[in-house]
């Protein structure tokens, strides 16, 4: 039909769809396909007062916090998954460096339920999780109540509706219909919970490729505001079928973010002084990228949609 292409540059996608003060879902797929390229563009554009949402966004949240973009974090875990704590998080929470910041602590499940509630269009969803914990005591979006159909205590997890979800996917067409596979985490609910979706794709493919497998189309284009073609856009996190996890990069970041001066140097080098992901990858070097590439393809068996 006559739908217009939604392809834009990363610069334009962030400029248009991530205003100051907005609530942004990043890193919905846990440790895979974290939208680092989008996060770095947010930093370069100096976005401020963001609420960042995501179960575990590995070091991306730490970087956004260290760069001063974030006034509030709604997450279950913030740090460096393979190396330990996040030093920017610590500085922000313990000493308000570079700015004061609010932490709203969720568990993975309650954050997933908050997004699921918004995706379902209900004000809350019930769970037994967090009963007896200080998460329940301290997070105002978790509230104990009595089940209307039984004598049980339950926790109402309030719906969380991000202004925008940035979802990194393996492939999409120019209208935003997206295939993703492997580690899904909260991506499907996240895309449906958000007011709009920015899809960042390793590959832009013909609509026929996406349409050939509508069960793998986990984000339909009509929910998508912008599509960015950004190969290697999730580095140093992995993208199944495209590249592996750059464990060393995470370790190096861990060391280089321990002191605030070192972090600022890191930020200059990897974010502020590169203009886009292409330059970032040039700096990373072809050898390193080559080493992360797919060594052995493993293609899914076909499903027949014929009749």
């Amino acid at each position: 039909m006559t739908t217009a292409s939604k392809l834009v540059s990363m610069h334009d996608a962030i400029a248009r769809h991530v205003p100051h003060g907005s609530m942004v879902l990043l890193g919905a797929q846990m440790e895979q396909m974290i939208p680092f390229a989008a996060g770095h563009e947010i930093i370069r554009q100096g976005k401020r007062d963001l609420t960042v949402v995501g179960p575990i966004s590995d070091i991306l949240f730490d970087q956004l916090i260290g760069a001063g973009c974030v006034s509030r974090v709604m997450a279950a875990w913030v740090g460096n998954v393979s190396a330990g704590v996040g030093y920017c998080l610590r500085r922000a929470v313990e000493r308000s460096i570079p700015r004061r910041m609010e932490m709203v602590d969720y568990s993975n499940f309650t954050l997933a339920l908050a997004l699921h509630a918004a995706a379902l269009g209900v004000p809350f969803l019930p769970t037994y999780s967090t009963l007896g914990s200080d998460l329940l005591a301290k997070n105002g979006n978790l509230r104990e109540f009595s089940s209307p159909v039984s004598e049980e205590k339950l926790v109402a997890v309030r719906a969380l509706r991000p202004d925008v979800a940035v979802i990194h996917v393996q492939r999409a067409d120019e209208f935003g219909n997206a295939h993703l596979w492997g580690s899904l985490g909260t991506a499907v609910d996240g895309a449906r919970a958000a007011r709009k979706v920015v899809v960042v794709a390793e590959e832009i493919v013909a609509p026929e490729v996406i349409a050939s497998d509508p069960n793998r189309t986990l984000i339909p284009g009509f929910l998508v505001a912008a599509v960015v073609h950004e190969p290697w856009g999730a580095h140093p996190s992995p993208a199944q079928g495209y590249y592996g996890r750059d464990h060393a990069f995470f370790s190096q970041y861990h060391e280089q973010s321990r002191q605030v001066e070192d972090f600022e140097h890191w930020l200059e080098r990897w974010v502020l002084r590169v203009s886009d992901r292409r330059e970032y990858m040039n700096q990373l070097g072809a050898c390193r990228a080559e080493a992360l590439g797919v060594r052995e393809h493993a293609y899914s068996a076909a499903a027949d949609f014929g009749y």
Binding site: D58, A76, L89, S107, S129, S133, L135
Partner: protein, 262 residues
């Protein structure tokens, strides 16, 4: 890791990490659903699979369910080898749903601090009189609330083993027997073992931890000195069994360079 324990293990045929992994693997019975986690628990799950629990099923919070070991060492649960040929790649909500249904037999956890009743804190650390912000729950609170039983692995240090944790990230037995049920948590759930760098603690029917076994070469006194409350000791205190040959060969095939089990 206390220097004493480390010194001991170097005189044996296995490391302290290997002892802990073997002990953890024995907490998994055949056919059980296991919320696995990373590092030592992941290795323990894989050892269990290759020894006494071949039909155990592993769940990961990103939505992955696996019955076969990942072909490579993992740094995170979403590393590509953990997804390829998985039993299922579902959503986080799907594996958490299995947990909330009561289908998950055992969940593995770590923590910065634990207390007398097995409550865990992984949100706020205490070091040299300073309070430090730690990464937080992740799925730990969910697993602690909803698994039938939980097994916690952590370093046995006095400042981590506290009379009362300052923040309950993951509820254990709360204030003792009946507390979990009173909170509305599932009946007959909660921590079942703490596998530490010095020994194994279990929980009495009153919900309080007691020392069930000490690792080879570790004295009861050493354990008590490294515990921040008056720890009860089992009438029949055991020595934690050394890893069996099959367990050692299994974990060494999975982690040949002792990356996790140093």
């Amino acid at each position: 890791m206390p220097a004493g324990a480390q010194a001991e293990t170097t005189t044996r045929d296995y490391t302290l990490g290997e002892l802990m992994v073997a002990a953890a693997s024995r907490e998994i019975a055949d056919g059980e659903l296991v919320f696995v986690g990373m590092r030592l628990p992941m290795l323990a799950f894989l050892v269990a699979k290759q020894t006494r629990a071949p039909r155990a099923v592993g769940l990961y919070e990103n939505g992955v369910i696996r019955e076969t070991p990942s072909p490579e060492l993992l740094y995170t649960m979403a590393d590509p080898p953990n997804l390829r040929n998985a039993t299922q790649c579902s959503q986080m909500l799907d594996v958490m749903a299995l947990l909330q249904q009561g289908r998950v037999d055992v969940g593995f956890l770590g923590a910065a601090e634990v207390d007398r009743f097995g409550n865990l804190n992984s949100t706020w650390g205490h070091r040299d009189g300073q309070t430090t912000r730690l990464p937080g729950s992740g799925g730990a609170c969910d697993i602690a609330c909803l698994s039938r039983r939980t097994v916690v692995l952590l370093a046995h240090e006095r400042n981590r083993f506290r009379e009362r944790v300052s923040h309950i990230t993951s509820p254990g037995h709360g204030l003792g027997n009946g507390w979990r049920e009173a909170q509305g948590l599932p009946a007959r759930s909660g921590p079942s073992a703490l596998i530490t760098t010095l020994g194994v603690l279990r929980f009495g029917s009153d919900g309080e931890a007691y020392l069930a076994s000490v690792h080879p070469g570790v004295s009861v006194e050493e354990v008590l000195a490294n515990t921040g409350w008056t720890l009860r000791v089992a009438d029949e205190l055991l020595e934690t069994p050394a890893p069996a040959a099959a367990e050692l060969s299994s974990m060494r095939s999975l982690d040949p360079n002792h990356f996790w089990t140093r």
